[in-house]
Symmetry: C2
Subunit: 377 residues, 2 copies
């Protein structure tokens, strides 16, 4: 079998997606490609859970999608509130700074998340509505923390700021209801729960965000989303799209929506629970607080984390290490996309082997209790 790739992206690919990558190239300005594009758009619309929003698929990593959101929705000089709980939140704030935004920060300790009440207070104090945009990270990949996105979005209340969400490691793995929760922009990437190789950034913009995007005057070229919308609001391709990745994403969306988004959400929830129980049975301390667990990545403190990861790779299991101030101090298990419970059990078993004879069976046994509680598809 393939080695187990248990990192938070890129994630393993379903065979249907791998096969789709080999379809013949077509002219991207043609009816056959338009049909592919329309299927992808329709599928993403369901995943973003929006009827009014506009969807954009760009040839870029997720980071490119985050830059596109900034360039198109923030005028240089405007004030942005960065709600951050780890290195990916900080990175987005930094992109906003690079392109001229005044960044204010609402930060939590790593392992926790800023509370909706704190956000509501900050916005209530902003009586002059200087804050034009709020940056949220749905799932902080560096710590394995999930933000309660609905509560955070509702905490905006009557404040007119746009809400932008980095959902790169969350979309399709946990509920996100763009229209219902009043989110103005969601950014994701192809290579996580969307089970497609890296190389596509996907964005959805609310009607309000589209109006802002059309009005912003700051510099933007490659990521100018106006290039994707003709004046008559029809779709346009300003340059060559990543055709083979579109084929892959179409195949993946068919799988995800065929089984139902709820099934994907439940699968990720279950994998997260297995990871947590397994790691705790090995005596490891989780990075995330108990009310902050992520369904796609689980981080735990471990002395000699990087050497441990090297030994685990010797058994054919790849997990991730720490980033930023957690580098070398933690391990992170990605359980996102095309991953099943047996992959998780295999990962935990390999960790037992790596940690020594006295751990044999403990993590696996603990994780299996999750499967006893919840029927597995």
């Amino acid at each position: 079998m393939d080695d187990l790739l248990m990192v938070p992206g890129p994630t393993p690919l379903p065979p249907e997606v791998r096969a789709a990558l080999t379809l013949p190239m077509v002219n991207h300005r043609s009816a056959p490609f338009r049909a592919v594009e329309e299927e992808v758009q329709a599928g993403l619309r369901q995943v973003f859970d929006t009827t009014a929003g506009r969807i954009f698929v760009l040839p870029a990593a997720g980071t490119g999608g985050l830059e596109a959101a900034i360039q198109n929705l923030v005028e240089p000089g405007q004030t942005v509130l960065s709600v951050t709980m780890g290195s990916f939140g900080d990175r987005w704030a930094n992109l906003a700074r690079v392109f001229g935004a005044q960044v204010e920060t609402l930060a939590s300790e790593w392992g926790s998340y800023p509370r909706p009440e704190e956000l509501a207070e900050r916005l209530a104090a902003d009586r002059e509505h200087r804050i034009r945009v709020i940056l949220l990270t749905h799932n902080e990949t560096s710590t394995g923390v999930l933000l309660p996105l609905e509560a955070m979005a509702r905490a905006r209340g009557d404040h007119p700021a746009l809400i932008l969400v980095d959902a790169v490691s969350a979309l399709a793995a946990t509920p996100l209801r763009m229209d219902e929760w009043g989110i103005d922009c969601v950014v994701a990437g192809s290579q996580k729960a969307l089970m497609t190789p890296p190389g596509l950034a996907v964005l959805a913009l609310s009607e309000r965000a589209v109006a802002t995007m059309r009005a912003v005057k700051g510099p933007r070229g490659y990521f100018d989303l106006r290039g994707y919308l003709k004046p008559d609001n029809t779709t346009n391709l300003p340059y060559t799209p990543a055709v083979s990745l579109f084929y892959g994403l179409r195949a993946s969306l068919k799988l995800i929506l065929g089984a139902g988004l709820e099934a994907s959400y439940a699968r990720h929830e279950r994998l997260g629970a297995m990871a947590r129980r397994g790691l705790e049975a090995l005596g490891l301390k989780l990075v995330a607080d108990p009310d902050a667990y992520s369904p796609t990545v689980t981080a735990a403190y471990l002395e000699g984390a990087d050497e441990f990861r090297t030994r685990l790779r010797g058994l054919g299991v790849t997990i991730a290490g720490g980033q930023g101030k957690l580098a070398g101090r933690i391990i992170r298990i990605g359980h996102v996309g095309f991953v099943n419970p047996v992959d998780m059990l295999g990962t935990l078993a390999a960790m037992e082997v790596t940690m020594g004879r006295e751990h044999a069976g403990h993590a696996v046994a603990a994780a299996e209790t999750v499967l006893e509680e919840v029927a597995v598809r």
Copy 2:
């Protein structure tokens, strides 16, 4: 068989490349991916023909590579000389404008190219060296015109401006000797003569350009090439690379370099000659002047061009139409990448059928004369 895709990108894929796209995902921050990256870098080094240059592979369309060149090599406010002969040259100049450059233009009629003597004169007149960067288009895809790049680069003489080259539709199809000709930056894309799906921009920077890149202060985030070079000059990945496209590019470079770059150059030259003789035998007037022929795309005037293309598609042959001021007025045959002489003969035969009985055999017979003159691999 697959339909014939005779457009200037995306181009058909060799079976080895299609197969490579299906390889399993790996952690991009790992030894296995580093090995892939190093093979790709080594192969591209040969294609760019540089020993000292630094090579960057970005998850982006070619346009993203053009933007990266501007953001990293042009300080806002600096003067750029845009040497343009069509819509892709104009597009690059526009990206420079968007990011704050003062753009001066040296333009030719469409179908021709600005002369090296004109460039030398413009630079000689710039005694204060206000011009910091010269933008050249190696092959203008909108008109099917090849710039005599060596002569243009040498026309710089002692002027200190950096020379940046858009080689998106030229690289690996026609000679480009970065070090020997003193070129400071070359930008290309994966989806043309590199025979890989679209989604990767490749750049090479001379040592001088790397020094400029490190010094520039203008805003750059996703395309900040400093993120790809650590301070100690080793390679870094600032975000997730497009893993599957790296696999494809590695496979394609192996094919191209295995047969030899000279073979690729000769094949494209021959395909261009076949296209020109075929189209002229059908009574069409070429867009490019006789001294300006491109080896990768051939454009010709044709009344009712777009309707003609639709009828051709009915026979399973896709060619491109006009762009910008040539929209609807010309056809363009792409003959770049994984295309062989029989594909070209089939295309010309389908055109004969579409144009009517009186043309039967004429274009094909004319094109075949090229094969009689030059041995076909």
